[in-house]
Symmetry: none
Subunit: 222 residues, 4 copies
DNA sequence: AATGAATGAGACTTCATTCAT
DNA sequence: TATGAATGAAGTCTCATTCAT
């Protein structure tokens, strides 16, 4: 069996096992056995348990980001639609590849420096995709004075606000959004009837509309 | 040293270690050494590694819920103000007790049945506090027709919408909110100038205002 | 509570625990708790776990030997009757003080030098009692030409045989007898209806009569 | 080294160590070291300390029973000759494999349920071999009215007695005999000049002849 | 390319024993 | 006389990792 294929097959199994047991509770023994090969092969191909986990991490992260990007790209030019499509793709991905998500997710602490860095990098990649869309959304929403898909009253000082809302804010919103989406995967698990699209819709309504209102000057104060 | 004091001291150390390394990668040896006592004491007081972790979990969950509840209770009757106060307290707590939060929220999937159950229960307790305030907010906001602190146009079908937005939705919003808050603790770490109250304010603006809009019928659709 | 009484009370408990769990599986903790005192008291009175076990061993061995001797002494001058009485007392003792017997018995290997020596000494004491009675029995049986309680034909060379049958043979028979009795305690446990006296009777018939026959020249050869 | 060979080698060492120290006082560490391998190998091959002990138990019991059976089988049809041969083999075996015998017979009461059961089963197997020969002996001795190798007067009530002497009695005699044999291994140790066959001869004379007498109605009574 | 055999290191846990009061 | 608090040492077991074939 050619090297690359074997490698992928091992990673397939490893993702399942790591997702089920967590990094530390997983044993290379079990992964090798489930992959139908001997342990030395695992070490020959992936170097170490850590290397194996990193490979899993990178592959699944790439897949997730790709799913998000493809969906966003295919959704036309409007940033909010691209965001909607990307988030939808995210929820679809998590629903369909639960193991991948579990491996990417909640393995943050307790791992070696290298792994923690890879996790952080994966999260950063997702975050930057989202932040970019949000930045575009903010710009468009304040630049051309039109947010498609919703009626609203123009605020007089929108240009002013838009200046204030810079990259930092896009990053803030991105963090909130990704965190919310992340946490909602738990909710999704407990509400199997809900479609990924429905969940995305609710989330967009909550966050996007709220954000737009803020841009419009509807500030809430305690 | 009296028994109870020792116990708390051990738990103090254990929370730090578990947060830093995760459950499996933590060793009772290290915890004992950092606590300045011998391993057998740890076992005498907390029974087992699992017992020790459970004790950490319970104490930190209780502390977080208490902080949230106290702040909310002290903020008067308006649900949105209580939510604001509770969230503020949450951010303060997480900022000041990052380890506690990590132990409560970032434990991977590699835990024993008993521990996994306790983790789930702790998370559920936090989530249920938040969901409860949101539920109240939804009810008040639709019941008396007035959301203080923001002007708006009454929608004719607000009662109808309120009926649709039930406990499930409050739970949805709670998940989104807690997830967003969690993720924003990362953002907070990278923006040291920002006060917890400022962060809460932004988050409230984003989520609460958005939620209110939805109640008002301003639905966003792709 | 006076010292001696406490000591006996501790030993009482210890015999029960050692019998139930065996030496190594018994913990001083459990013994102290069952005795209703704290562990340091055990060490104050009995020095160490080994000291505690030795005390148990010596007390129970003394009791068993005393029971044997008393019964034998009270049974009149005939050696065979004294042997019968002693063996009966042995079976009665084992039946009534199972724990004592377990502690004395089957703890031979796996114990420290000192304990092994004490066990050996106890066994030697019993053995010497038995051997002495058997020696007397042989002498009487060959000396006065009459074994009461059974008819037989005199052999012409009985004096000669008796000379051959010396102390070594008495010791041989004693070993066989004690071993048989020892093993029969297992049998007794599985046949609760059988009285100690009945068991002794069977054993005497088997061994004593056989021995007498040998003295009479009825040699079995393959 | 091939797997099976290693296993036997480990068991060889383990029997020695268990015999010397007893189950609890033996450490897997020591066994591994004496076997010249590392601890993980022991666990790989025998699963656990308990598994290791069970393996020892089974192998040694099988060996002893085989030695007994082979000798008995090779000694012709007469039960007493078969018993003689079997007992001889037993003494030879114990003399040559003292450790095996200690593992089989001198394990204290501190063993786990599973081990205790296996020990009991092993003892039962040995005991049942002996009892079976004795039963045959009783039957033949009462059935055809002739016990070869010894003259005697026929008793009128032999059939009656034989009815009374059932399996229970064979078991009683077996216990006495095995116990005596066991104890005589100590005697044997202190009298190195004595051959196993000589010891067996004395024992047979004592027990077999006595038993036959009882069958003949020569009852001893106190 | 592939593996059966092997291990160093370290994990959790328990226990006999002692100190300070 | 009595004990709550504390520990050094050791035991069973698992795992990531490598060597010889």
């Amino acid at each position: 069996m050619p090297r690359h294929e074997r490698e992928q097959q091992i990673i397939d199994v490893a993702v399942r096992v790591f997702a089920k047991r967590g990094y530390h509770a997983s044993s290379v023994d079990e992964i090798a056995e489930l992959a139908g090969i001997s342990k030395p092969m695992v070490y020959l191909y992936l170097d170490s348990k850590e290397g194996l986990f990193l490979a899993c991490l990178r592959r699944e992260a790439a897949r997730l980001v790709a799913a998000f990007q493809e969906a966003a790209r295919g959704a036309g030019p409007a940033p909010e639609l691209r965001l909607y499509a990307g988030l939808s793709a995210f929820f679809v991905f998590v629903a369909e590849h639960r193991d991948s998500w579990v491996v990417l997710h909640r393995q943050a602490s307790e791992l070696s420096e290298a792994i923690a860095a890879a996790v952080a990098e994966a999260r950063r990649a997702v975050m930057s995709e989202v932040a970019s869309l949000i930045r575009d959304g903010i710009r468009e929403s304040t630049g051309d004075g039109a947010i498609p898909g919703a009626d609203r009253a123009d605020g007089a000082d929108r240009g002013h606000r838009a200046a204030q809302l810079g990259d930092e804010d896009a990053d803030f919103v991105a963090h909130a959004l990704v965190g919310a989406a992340d946490s909602l995967t738990d909710w999704m698990e407990r509400h199997p009837g809900q479609s990924p699209e429905g969940i995305t819709l609710r989330l967009m309504n909550m966050v996007w509309v709220g954000m737009r209102d803020v841009l419009d000057g509807k500030v809430w104060l305690p």
